[in-house]
């Protein structure tokens, strides 16, 4: 069996004339935490949506466990979990129903047992049981992210995606979420793919970092290699400078 959990080859996606992914090649190894960095509008979210089947790529190949997923009829989501940027909790359901959504959907567990399991996972992400019956609208941004994380990990997925997990959070809460991501992923032995432009978060959670620029992966390596790299695009991005080869359209 291949060492790669996810294999992406020659992936293209355009919206009209705008090329967003322009031949992406990327691997995520088993149990690895890969962080994709890149500026706003460079196609990070599109990449993650293509892997999840939320968008159909124009061409290329995405394999999970060696099986092609583009155009497959199989339910590829059973082995995946996802934490959305805005948490994307269902307003019409309570917190515990959100967390236990997949368990209830599968129908193999009673509502009482699903609620108990949801409360247990909520505890793991640092939320008290009395949060379970609240509505998502009653929670703060940080709490919503924790609930989103609980929902992503409750079925012990093999792959977890994190879409800008720390965006909109204060630095302390961002660090708490980073710790929870590391704990959850290591606890499950899952492969994770995180997209972010928060370098503090990337440094903390990444085994390996890849940089996406103009629809291509232009650099990849470990955090140590990143700090030593003389790639001008990478240097500009991690230093947060407006001067360099990356031009920002104003």
């Amino acid at each position: 069996m291949s060492d790669n959990k996810i294999e992406i080859r020659n992936l293209y996606k355009a919206f009209g004339k705008k090329k967003v992914l322009d031949g992406v090649d990327l691997d995520v190894k088993r149990g690895e935490s890969l962080v994709v960095i890149g500026g706003s509008g460079t196609g990070k979210s599109v990449l993650i949506k293509c892997i999840q089947g939320l968008l159909t790529p124009d061409c290329g190949s995405i394999k999970i466990d060696g099986e092609e997923v583009i155009g497959t009829k199989k339910d590829i989501h059973q082995k995946m979990g996802m934490l959305f940027q805005g948490a994307a909790l269902f307003d019409s359901l309570s917190v515990w129903e959100n967390v236990a959504f997949r368990l209830l959907e599968n129908g193999k567990i009673s509502r009482r047992k699903a609620r108990l399991k949801a409360i247990q996972v909520l505890r793991q992400v640092g939320l008290a049981p009395d949060v379970a019956d609240l509505s998502p609208a009653e929670l703060s941004g940080g709490m919503q992210k924790r609930v989103g994380l609980a929902r992503a990990v409750i079925c012990q997925p093999e792959i977890i995606f994190f879409d800008e997990p720390t965006t909109g959070l204060d630095p302390i809460m961002a660090d708490v979420i980073n710790d929870l991501i590391i704990e959850s992923a290591r606890g499950l032995g899952a492969s994770t793919l995180t997209i972010t432009h928060d370098m503090a978060s990337a440094r903390k959670i990444a085994d390996r970092i890849a940089m996406l620029y103009q629809g291509k992966i232009i650099w990849s390596g470990t955090v140590k290699e990143m700090d030593k790299s003389d790639n001008p695009y990478l240097r500009q991005f991690i230093s947060g400078s407006s001067h360099g080869p990356i031009k920002v359209e104003v």
Partner: protein, 264 residues
């Protein structure tokens, strides 16, 4: 050369919206086909169906009741003022009966429900779209068409005929109230006229129309919500489009169904 340019810009001005219309029509046809297919595929979300049933049906009762009550009253007055000079007061009950059951109850109820429910559906699903809740459904292995759209379509198709039957009774009652208390008709004669002229085809026409209108309201609300984008403004546009398009379609289909049933 100038003439060529003029022709080109003329064709562009008409061609662009035409192409956009055809593309949207394609999206819409695909959406309708997918929605109908998923209405018959398990899992069936009974709890969500019941919630929509209450939203569309029970909470629309006051609106439908008031609308059809006053419509029935107006028809009674207008009919009387129009035909009293020919000594045909007894026809008032018949005209109220036919107008309410065949046209007023189904059409007015549907327009009111389109405003109330079509807008709510578009806003709710549109908000779910722009906050990535629909994407979240997919990543949690739930089919959005079965989870969000099928329960709404089923509820609207089942509950609209019931709402229209309720509207029939209230509308006829409105005509009765005006006939008895304002036009001084004999109550027994009025009821007798109504019952004698009551035909199954009239009521069934209204029921069939109601089911079709229910489908239109749900599908337009869901479609515009599902395709909305661009945050609050996009959701606002989706809501407006859902109400306007369903209202127009209700009036078009009202004519078509009437034509099919009564043209002979």
């Amino acid at each position: 050369m100038q003439e060529k340019k003029n022709i080109s810009s003329f064709l562009q001005a008409f061609g662009k919206p035409l192409v956009a219309f055809v593309i949207n029509l394609g999206y819409f046809s695909r959406f309708v086909a997918k929605s109908i297919y998923n209405c018959f595929m398990p899992p069936f979300y009974i709890k969500l169906f019941c919630r929509q049933f209450m939203n569309i049906g029970f909470y629309s009762l006051p609106v439908v009741g008031l609308t059809t009550l006053f419509a029935g009253m107006v028809i009674a007055i207008q009919t009387y003022s129009g035909i009293s000079k020919y000594g045909a007061e007894s026809a008032v009950a018949l005209v109220v009966l036919i107008s309410v059951t065949r046209e007023l109850a189904p059409v007015l109820s549907a327009l009111m429900v389109a405003g109330r429910i079509g807008a709510a559906m578009a806003a709710e699903i549109g908000t779910m779209r722009v906050t990535e809740q629909i994407d979240a459904l997919v990543t949690l292995s739930a089919n959005p068409f079965r989870y969000l759209i099928a329960p709404r379509i089923w509820a609207a198709v089942v509950v609209m005929p019931l709402l229209v039957l309720f509207g029939d009774v209230i509308g006829i009652f409105g005509g009765y109230v005006v006939g008895i208390y304002k036009l001084d008709f004999n109550p027994a004669n009025y009821i007798n006229n109504t019952m004698t002229n009551l035909q199954a085809i009239d009521v069934m026409t209204g029921v069939v129309k109601a089911a079709v209108f229910g489908f239109i309201i749900a599908i337009m609300g869901c479609y515009h919500g599902y395709r909305s984008k661009g945050g609050a403004q996009g959701v606002g546009e989706a809501t407006t489009n859902a109400v306007v398009s369903s209202s127009i379609l209700i009036l078009i289909f009202n004519y078509l169904i009437t034509e099919v049933i009564f043209s002979r």
